[in-house]
């Protein structure tokens, strides 16, 4: 079941075209990797789909136009995990994860057992149950990233958009979070994640969408998208390829000159 | 040059009337002919004593009907703001000023060679008498001063004679809760009008501040507002309209006396006393 269909997305910021005619789709159970060089428009595209940036084009959630949903229904249908790990107040991890339940609560409704259960599930999946009472601002980068991811998972939305969820994490936690996203997709969610690491993208994602200068350059199976031609065009790289234990890896090896 | 003896005698006879003439002229010059008054209180007393003929200028406040009793009289007189250059322009031979301006104005004028008579605000009838007497002497009309005082005392005595036995309590209540206690002219006038000044009774000496709570507890028979007609709105005056004062009725009565009767001491305090007496008898 297609959870997300975005077509013909154009985003202009201050007169400059950041995203032009881009499309993005994700089905239930799919982990889609959104990749491309810096400035390609990945974050902007994600934000536009999440309703955070004004854009032209259509966005359908479960076949229905996103614009038809009220704010809270939209928030229940789509969970967004932004870049950055800003937490402004020294809240406990559990309270922070609990914020993910806000779209499910009516204005004066108190959180109930269903909400507590969802929070527990999210914290268990991200392996932070033991950090529940800790001040988030004192946690390590990896722990904090997992707390914020748990917050997004607590929404239990059918669609999750994650902007660079593994940036600034050490390799151990990068693997951990990617495995987590994979498991979450397998459990039924549709996930679109912006990634810079080509190997992790290739190993865990069902499909890749490669962006370059605001347009979608290539889309589809990771092996096909990450061919030499696309890597040269988008990243100006030549890469080293191989397989190990059944999965392929793609290592950026050499910069290529212009043209 | 040596004159023959007979001529010297003639000259002395000729000189004598001249000496006499100069002497009396000098005596007449001692009575000031161009007077500048810089203070509302001296304005009013001067006008009461000598009219406006010899006055070159009065203070600008003399034209304010809420403060001055001589508004009509001074209509055509130029006003001054007690500034040295202004005063100098009138070239006065006498300047009347308030004693409280001693440092800022009076001293400077004296050093410039002007004759300055300073009036201190009287705190009692005795001081008022003395002030009027002194001022009348300086203005060259001592008999006028005496007559003014006599008239005032006669009217006040008539009031006092009419007093009756009961002495209801009264309080003056001013903006910001100020009142007049023992040792003030207001206190004396209130007593003459047949009232017992509660402020004096509670130990206030001179001008003092009375809290609203104390006022309610004191609950005088009469509360006197002596500043109606003041322009504009202020928190200070709002205190006099506090709703709790309304709740003191009917036990407490209120009377509003025009400010001009209290701001300066003078013969018009008889009117103030008479109005207080009328409020008592109502």
């Amino acid at each position: 079941m297609t959870r997300l269909t975005a077509d013909g997305i154009n985003v202009r910021i201050d007169g400059a075209e950041i995203v032009a005619g881009a499309s993005l789709a994700a089905a239930a159970g799919e982990l889609v990797g959104l990749i491309g060089p810096n400035g390609a428009g990945k974050t902007t595209l994600l934000r536009a789909v999440a309703g955070l940036a004004p854009c032209d084009g259509t966005v359908l959630l479960d076949g229905r136009p996103a614009a038809a949903l009220d704010r809270r229904a939209f928030a229940r249908a789509l969970a967004y995990l932004p870049q950055g790990h800003d937490v402004h107040w020294p809240l406990t991890a559990r309270r922070l994860v609990a914020l993910g339940r806000l779209p499910h609560l009516a204005p004066w409704q108190r959180p109930g057992p269903a909400d507590a259960a969802a929070i527990d599930r999210a914290m268990a999946r991200t392996d932070i149950a033991h950090l529940g009472g800790r001040n988030v601002q004192t946690l390590s980068g990896g722990e904090r990233a997992r707390v914020l991811l748990a917050r997004a998972l607590a929404v239990e939305a059918p669609l999750l958009l994650a902007d660079e969820p593994i940036a600034a994490l050490d390799p151990y936690h990068q693997l951990h979070v990617m495995a987590l996203l994979r498991a979450t997709a397998d459990a039924g969610a549709a996930i679109v994640a912006v990634l810079h690491d080509l190997t992790l993208a290739a190993r865990h994602c069902d499909r890749l969408v490669l962006m370059h200068e605001g347009r979608v350059l290539a889309e589809g199976d990771p092996a096909a998208v990450l061919d030499d031609g696309n890597l040269r065009a988008a990243y100006r790289l030549a890469a080293l390829r191989g397989t190990h234990e059944g999965s392929s890896f793609v290592l950026p090896w050499r910069r290529l000159p212009e043209g | 040059m040596r004159f023959p003896r007979r001529r010297r005698l003639h000259l002395s006879i000729l000189l004598l009337p001249a000496v006499l003439l100069v002497g009396t002229a000098g005596a007449r010059a001692a009575v000031p002919a161009r007077i500048v008054s810089t203070n509302l209180c001296t304005d009013q007393l001067a006008v009461a004593l000598i009219g406006t003929e010899r006055l070159a200028s009065v203070s600008f406040l003399a034209a304010d009907p809420t403060l001055s009793n001589v508004v009509d009289a001074v209509r055509d007189l130029p006003a001054n703001h007690a500034l040295v250059e202004e005063i100098a322009r009138f070239d006065p031979d006498l300047v009347l000023a308030g004693a409280h301006r001693e440092r800022r104005l009076n001293d400077r004028l004296r050093r410039l060679g002007y004759r300055v008579h300073a009036l201190a605000a009287p705190n009692s009838l005795a001081e008022l008498r003395r002030a009027v007497t002194d001022l009348a002497a300086v203005l060259g009309v001592p008999e006028r001063g005496a007559a003014l005082i006599a008239g005032m005392e006669r009217d006040l005595a008539a009031l006092a004679a009419d007093a009756g036995a009961a002495r209801p309590t009264a309080l003056v209540y001013r903006p910001n809760g100020y009142t007049s206690g023992a040792g003030t002219l207001v206190d004396e006038v209130m007593r003459l009008a047949g009232f017992d000044n509660l402020a004096a009774r509670s130990g206030v000496a001179g001008g003092g501040n009375l809290s609203l709570e104390s006022l309610v507890v004191a609950a005088p028979d009469l509360i006197v507002f002596d500043n109606p007609g003041e322009r504009g709105w202020s928190l200070a005056q709002r205190l006099q309209a506090h709703p709790v004062l309304d709740r003191l009725r009917p036990g407490t009565r209120f009377v509003a006396l025009p400010g001009r009767l209290w701001v300066c001491a003078g013969p018009w305090i008889v009117e103030a006393a008479a109005r207080l007496r009328a409020a008592r008898n109502r």
Partner: protein, 338 residues
Amino acid sequence: MTAGAAEARIGAPTLAVGLVALLAGLAFLSLQVGQVAIPAAEVLRGLVAGADDRAALIVREIRLPRLLLAGLIGASLGLAGAALQGLLRNPLAEPGLIGVSASGGLGAVVALYFGFAAAFPLALPLSAMAGALIATLALYLLAARDASILTLILAGVAISSFAVAMTSLALNLSPTPYALSEMVLWLLGSVKDRSMADVALAAPFILLGWALLAGVGRGLDALSLGEEAARSLGVGLGRLRALIIGGTALSVGAGVAVSGSIGFVGLVVPHLLRPLVGHQPSRLLLPSALGGAALLIAADIAARLIPARGELMLGVLTAVIGAPFFLWLILQTRRRMR
């Protein structure tokens, strides 16, 4: 803003009950204190039994309005402070510091001293609220994009200075002779000698402001994650800003209209209570209101007890506590940001 265990040590109901008890005790004390000594039994009788003797009059017409105003205004300042700090994600935001109170004071002075309020009584609170609204909007425009401490303080200084300067100008131009001496009352605030009429004038607007501020807790919680995450959680940021700006202008403005500008309450109270509610913005709102009311009532009691010529201004007392606290807060925050 302390590191370490952030779990609230006190449950929300316990904290609320504790603050209410404190408030009740202070309210009782406030009615006892005054120029005239009235025994406690008589105070209660005057309050409850509707007696009409002198003591009852004093309690109901002089001390009660004072208590009610201090409570209403203190609560407004605490609540608005907590809301503004949540919105701007900045612990230094509060109505006094950022010039909202001073601007409300300007509005009040213009209405009172130039005859508008005499012609039309509602002109007073409306004018004060308009002044407060303009300042809150200006501050939001100046400081929202760049929520750094420096920008906020500078914006607050600019707005505050302008409002104070205009207030002195207005008083200078006004007809009454008492205007200049009253400037102190407007700049430092007082609830002395206020009447139930003043309470009746301000209370409806204050309560309306509270109603607007009451519902912003969720949105402020979501804002802890940043504006984008908050929006993705379904929080309408425009509506949130409007509620906070409007609620602040209403409650703080109406309070300033009758009592003058009182500062620092909105800074001190939320800061002290924040650790007790686990730093969660939504759980800080009610305690800040209760704490603000308690603080201002306590300050009003102290103003009457401390021997001085006349009575101490309320704003002086809150400044004596608040200004050093503010300096300490700046130093602490700077250290953390380095």
